[in-house]
Amino acid sequence: MAKLLEVRDADVVFTSGFGGREKKRALSGVSIAVGGPHPAITAVVGESGSGKTTLIRLLLGFQSPTRGEVVYDGKPMATMSAPDRARFRREVQAIFQDPFDAFNPFYRIDHPLLAPLRQFGLVRSRDEAYARIEKTLESVGLRPDQTLGKYPHQLSGGQRQRVMIARALLLDPQIILADEPVSMVDASLRSTILDILYGLNRDLGISLIYVTHDLTTAYQVADSIVVLHGGQVMEVGETEQVIHDPRHPYTRALIDAVPSPDPDTPWNLDEQSGVPARFAPDEAPRPLHRTGPLRAVAGSVGDPGDVVTAAQIQLAVSAARAAEKPA
């Protein structure tokens, strides 16, 4: 039974300034899930400052919530035993945004590939390690002879991003958290990498959280989409429904801001009012109301359905998709 990683009703508040007077609410009342019985891909979409990177840090255990908790396989992160924590560390991996910052310039790229195998004792010899590394590099479309033995500055952004994916795969993870994995990669390579990520779920049964500010790529790979703004979930639901029938005004504005590449479909660029519409997130997070079997929107839109969490919608969507796909 694949394990479930959940953030339950979490708040993250950063205090700074003289005597900790200035408080910045990065996340408020967020419940997200990844993994579980039906591996799926959830896209977390939000602009800069929406709290999406903080969410990744919570899921990775790099940051503890001010309120609420992070639970893996039923065990809260805060009180996890050492062996459980080691197993968590191995089964939940991540890919980061900046390919130039993710590699220690002092070492060849073999270093971050050998380290996980040694650290978790997955190999008995150097040859066995390199065998696994080469196989994994090939699985992400890289030729080992053109990659291994090189320093990070000798590889292109696209190559480095794929090496980072390979590193995560070496540990046979159940869950991969991808923080804007393609935003700093050239457009031509973007679809290749998205293809690889989608393949991880489809072929290896790995569940992913795909964090991005780019709705079009979210539409490409994700089964469900969570729209985040000011640290609160505005809307969550199955991808097709959210994109083609957005309910929350913020989601609608986000979709409207994306230009369709076909110039004939109107985008009314010239009627822009000077000042953009402001979506100030309200102080207390508005609960999510179910507006369909696979949908929920923050705040009461029309007759509010029962209150539900984003996690529940995500799991519902992944279950529904599992039913569609042949086993």
Partner: protein, 283 residues
């Protein structure tokens, strides 16, 4: 490793670093080989006729106390270097350790270390050194190194703390944590190698400030009484009014040697700034 190879090439390209290091190397060689070639007896008080100007048999002349200046200089140079470098290493070690701890542990520990180094920076080092040195009855070279080191660790601490704070946030440190590395291994394997250029740069700055403090203390007569150092020979020259009496060869050579040391240190640290900044822009 290839990284070391091309950095040597860049070293040559960075002229001031190259000039500085070669000057310092020359001085250290003289300090090591010199004492083997001279007769130390000539440096004892009364060994020669005092106040002789430079001549064939006394290349640097003789001082007011009958010491042969050339021999004295050859013996004094290693002593002064020893204080400067010993103080440099001690304060570098303390500074780097505190910088790493402050950078990585953060929170209250970081605040304490930061405030301590800022406060110590404001107190005029020489005044405290004067206070401490005037209490010590018998000053030796090693004790002086420790005293001087106690007031030049702050430079290294500040630089390393600032760098650690930025390096700690780098992607590859997070990746290393995902790979299961943690604690000291994380610091030594991932962060320290990238700190090396900053440590080297801080070492040069620390040795410079340690040397400055040492020579300053000695000029006030607070240096090691019975050991021969460049600073002390300047003090005795000044004490016996060599300047007023025009015995330039008594205080000239020590000043020239000290100036050469400091020029070497300055060229090296200026060169290193260029080298360090390039690395900053590099990755």
């Amino acid at each position: 490793m290839a990284a070391l190879g091309n950095s040597l090439a860049r070293l040559y390209a960075n002229r001031s670093l190259f000039a500085g290091l070669s000057l310092l190397l020359l001085i250290v060689l003289v300090a090591l080989i010199g004492p083997l070639l001279i007769d130390p007896a000539l440096s004892r008080v009364g060994a020669t006729i005092p106040r002789l100007p430079p001549s064939a048999d006394h290349w640097f002349g003789t001082d007011g106390q009958g010491r042969d200046m050339f021999t004295t200089m050859i013996l004094a140079l290693p002593q002064t270097l020893r204080i400067g470098i010993a103080a440099g290493f001690i304060s570098l070690f303390v500074g780097v350790a505190l910088g790493l701890i402050a950078g990585f542990v953060g929170g209250v520990v970081d605040t304490i270390i930061r405030v301590a180094s800022d406060v110590m920076m404001t107190i005029p080092g020489i005044a405290i050194l004067v206070l401490v040195a005037s209490y010590v009855r018998v000053m030796t070279v090693d004790l002086m190194a420790i005293i001087v080191a106690s007031l030049s660790w702050m430079v290294a601490a500040r630089t390393i703390r600032a760098q650690t704070l930025t390096l700690r946030e780098r992607g590859y440190v997070a990746i290393a944590r995902l790979n299961g590395t943690s604690g000291l291994k994380l610091i030594f394997v991932e962060v320290l190698p990238n700190l090396l250029p900053f440590i080297a740069a801080s070492f040069v700055v620390t040795v410079t400030s340690a040397m400055l403090a040492t020579v300053g203390l000695e000029a006030l007569g607070l240096g090691p009484q019975n050991d021969l150092t460049l600073g002390m020979s300047i003090y005795w020259a000044q004490f016996y009014g060599a300047i007023l009496r025009g015995l330039w060869w008594w205080w000239g050579p020590p000043i020239v040697l000290i100036v050469l040391i400091f020029i070497g240190l300055l060229l090296t640290s200026a060169g290193m700034d260029g080298f360090v900044n390039k690395r900053l822009e590099g990755n």
